[in-house]
Amino acid sequence: MESRKLYNRIGVLRRERGISRKDLAEEIGVNFQTVGYLEREEYSPSLDLALRISEFFGLPVEMIFSTEPMQPLSREVLDLRRSKGNE
């Protein structure tokens, strides 16, 4: 069975928090090259690793990973504000 491609925001979140790949790798318990593969979306993590990443960033897993190409966070915030304004 062919698995679906997973898109993620790991690179954006890491840069936003000013952490190096090496530091993130140490925190989530992988080799630093694996962080590079994850950020380039060349490797889809296991559920355990995805949960460790979401725990590290303190965000729900669906905010970091998606099976659809991810929009910029600023765009999502804007959409959220607009939808709240319409309520």
Binding site: V30, N31, Q33, T34, Y37, P45, L49
Partner: protein
């Protein structure tokens, strides 16, 4: 500055040269053992040995690939375990095909070219080919990773 083995094309060239040197070494030793031709086997032996050591150090030593494929799975993360499993699966296929091909060549050699074998006309596996096959079984997974992976220079 990136090192020589950090580039995939360089590593691929190194892998090819390493296998070429292995064949050159094996042929040179067999040529000496079976007294095929006088003279060139010594030159082949020296060139093969130098090339073999150089390419081995560059492709498998400096990249950490030799160590990587012989590491305990507990020391690897989930992506690395997947890479190792894939390389072992491909290596197993290659090794089986090569071993079967060698047996076929041995059989044909005994049937049709007994003059090329040892002075008694016997074509056996021999210590040279045995050593080459043992080396191959260890190096094949590492060479598959060196060939196919973009980043292999590992920080241990």
């Amino acid at each position: 500055m990136m090192s020589w083995p950090a580039f995939q094309s360089n590593r691929r060239m190194g892998v090819v040269l390493n296998y070429f040197s292995l064949v050159l070494l094996a042929l040179s030793i067999m040529a000496i053992e079976y007294r095929w031709v006088a003279g060139w086997p010594v030159a082949g032996l020296i060139i093969g040995l130098v090339l073999f050591v150089l390419t081995f150090v560059q492709v498998y030593g400096r990249t950490g690939l030799w160590k990587f494929v012989h590491m305990s799975l507990d020391q690897l993360d989930e992506r690395e375990v997947q890479v190792i499993h894939h390389s072992l699966r491909v290596a197993y296929t290659f090794f089986t095909v090569l071993a079967l091909l060698y047996i076929l060549i041995l059989t044909l050699g005994i049937q049709f070219f007994s003059g090329l074998t040892d002075p008694d006309g016997d074509f056996s596996l021999g210590s040279v080919m045995l050593a080459a096959f043992i080396y191959l079984s260890h190096i094949l997974p590492a060479s598959i990773i060196a060939w196919s992976e973009r980043n292999v220079v590992r920080d241990n």
